[in-house]
Amino acid sequence: MNLVNDRKYALGMLVLSVVYCVSAWSLDTDFDPVNEKFYPFVLSVLMILLSIGLFIWPSPQSTVWPNWKNLQKIGLTFSAILVYSLVLHKIGFIISASLLMAICMWVFEASRKWILPTSVIVAIVFYVIFDRLLGLNLPSGLLSFV
């Protein structure tokens, strides 16, 4: 039984709540129940009270955080999606989605020979389904001549 965990989380909650509280308070309007300031302020007060509550009455629970290898995998997936988001408009859907799919497959320990063909096929199939058949615009980017 580890009671310290919840106390740490309670401090995190408190920081979040105070930030929300301060930015609610600094809204430039009257403090009137029908205005846009009062309601978020009430929410933030409740959040602060709950954070203090969790600190006083932590629940017995233990958190198993990922080991270093798995943490690296999560970091790699996170970065892959981040890079995808940043370059999507420039290089287009097919190339960036193939890359993302390939990195994810590698992270999920797919065998090497499958990664390249699968990720290219998936990206093209998605492009055809969403862009051409369903008419939802996906950026074509570098391949805009197709």
Binding site: P33, L54, N70, S85, C104, V122
Partner: protein, 500 residues
């Protein structure tokens, strides 16, 4: 009521809606079957496509509902064959389903699951069309004050019935409400920007789809990676003839009926949902069977009970959504958010003012369940082949589907980054024991709660007594208090029993 149901069928039987039901329950079965994608992810990812097709609100709901109850059929397939539940509501089905498969009786187990799902599903539609109109008569006199109190009541019930720490659940709910306040305030004159921290893109607020896909799909991805071990190879049990004997059916019939009623009632309660329903039904049947039964070692009745219960609870969860306009679970919350985007004003008058939606959906559920029993009995062998898709294709596919779903919503790169941020938030919340359902409910209802709160106070010139004036409000406050006290009471009862 009969006329209205006929009218419902006239809606559900239009070519477009029949097609939608077919596609929805088929997708639902597959989504339910594959561990890692729940109905909530599917609905969120498919929502931009529904927008693109400009479906009417009833058609969209027919489609989403089909995915939801369809997934309650499919989720037992992987429970039985792989010992991995497709969605959490089929976790109990593993207890007896997988031992049966190991004994070479996967066929009867799957057949029983399909029959129980069908019976639970269809019987609960009758309960739905019987009780919904009765309840809706209570809900005519709702003003902003009553609606506000109703939502407070739904929140308290949701948080106190959810698993784990009450403080964390409540914090999660209020965090959802707080996220909903980001963006331009529509009530104030001129539209004040709140909590955008100078980020231009946050002016329009945070789209619920971005949060749902982030927290659930991306969060799930991180969660899977964090617990990944080298030996995650799955073995699928061999599948023989999918048939049941008359005796096996007769033995389970009473349990299916009981579980259907339990499941429905649990489904109506906010916060409880299909997972709790299936657990409750299973433990009841186990107790009734007595200590000599084969429960836990492979009893067909142990497959029948949870499958009947989780299907009827999915149908029951449409009562708070369609009658009161307040969802009680994360999946129905996403459906409500989708309906709001499609221009439906949610509230206790939905059933009377938009009868097409309720009766159309109810009628379509009959059709959907018929399609599902065909999919899950004669075709189940074919469907089970989908389980052979390895994890290293499935999980990356979910990642790519998620980013496509979020991108096509607004065509914005900023939404993708926001989704990623919520993916991390969802992952941390799961790891640290904060439930996600209250967060989603808070996000979806946040706008409505604030509007009704401020409107009620505007009408009453700032008098708080407006929230305690009508008999409906008072009754709702009493229910709120009871739902706060109930878990404490049950817990002490449980403790007393285990000590005694």
């Amino acid at each position: 009521m009969f006329d209205q149901l006929l009218h419902g069928f006239s809606i559900a039987l239009s070519t477009q809606n029949i097609l939608l039901v077919f596609v929805a329950v088929f997708l639902g079965t597959i989504i339910g079957m594959l561990p890692g994608i729940g109905p909530i992810n599917a609905i969120a990812i498919l929502f931009p496509i529904v927008l693109q097709f400009e479906l009417s609100a009833p058609s969209a709901l027919i489609f989403f509902a089909g995915i939801f109850y369809g997934s309650q059929y499919g989720n037992s397939i992987s429970s039985i064959l792989l010992n991995v539940p497709g969605t959490s509501s089929a976790a109990v089905t593993c207890i007896d389903g997988h031992p049966l498969a190991k004994q070479g009786r996967a066929g009867p187990a799957l057949a029983m699951s399909a029959v129980a799902s069908f019976s639970g599903g269809v019987l609960s539609i009758f309960l739905l069309i019987f009780f919904a109109p009765i309840l809706s008569r209570l809900a005519i006199d709702f003003g902003p004050a009553e609606y506000f109190v109703l939502m407070v009541c739904a929140f308290t019930a949701l948080t106190s019935f959810s698993h784990g720490s009450f403080i964390k659940a409540l914090f999660s709910a209020i965090l959802g409400l707080a996220i909903a306040t980001v963006g331009i305030d529509e009530l104030s004159f001129g539209g004040m920007r709140r909590f955008t921290f100078g980020v231009e893109e946050l002016g329009d607020g945070i789209d619920f789809i971005v949060v749902v896909i982030g927290v659930f799909a991306i969060g799930e991805l991180f969660l899977y990676l964090s617990d990944m071990t080298a030996d995650s190879v799955q073995k699928i049990a061999p599948l023989n003839r999918v048939l049941l004997t008359f005796r096996e059916l007769k033995e389970s019939a009473a349990g299916i009926l009981r579980s259907c009623v339990t499941g429905f009632l649990v489904g109506v309660l906010p916060g409880a949902g299909a997972t709790i329903a299936s657990f409750l039904a299973y433990s009841t049947e186990k107790k009734m069977a007595g200590p000599d039964s084969k429960f836990g070692k492979g009893d067909l009745r142990g497959v029948a009970a949870p499958e009947s219960a989780n299907n009827s609870s999915a149908v029951g969860s449409f009562i708070p959504l369609l009658v009161l306009g307040v969802p009680g679970s994360e999946t129905t919350a996403v459906m409500l958010a989708a309906l709001i985007t499609l221009g439906v004003t949610p509230g206790p008058t939905m059933l009377t003012e938009q009868p097409d939606m309720f009766w159309g959906v109810a009628a379509s559920m009959f059709i959907g369940n018929l399609v599902l029993i065909v999919l899950n009995l004669p075709l189940v062998k074919l469907l089970a082949k989908i389980l052979l898709v390895p994890r290293w294709v499935l999980m990356p596919l979910i990642a790519v589907l998620s980013i496509v779903g979020v991108y096509v919503l607004n065509g914005s790169e900023f939404d993708l980054i926001l989704m990623l941020v919520f993916g991390v938030i969802g992952f941390i919340m799961r790891k640290t024991g904060f439930p996600l359902a209250p967060l989603i409910l808070g996000l979806v209802l946040g706008g409505l709660i604030e509007v009704n709160f401020r409107r009620a106070l505007t009408y009453s010139y700032g008098e708080y007594s407006t929230f305690f004036e009508s008999p409906i409000s008072i009754a709702l406050w009493v229910i709120t208090l009871l739902s706060l006290v109930a878990p404490v009471f049950f817990n002490s009862l449980k403790k007393g029993r285990s000590q005694g």
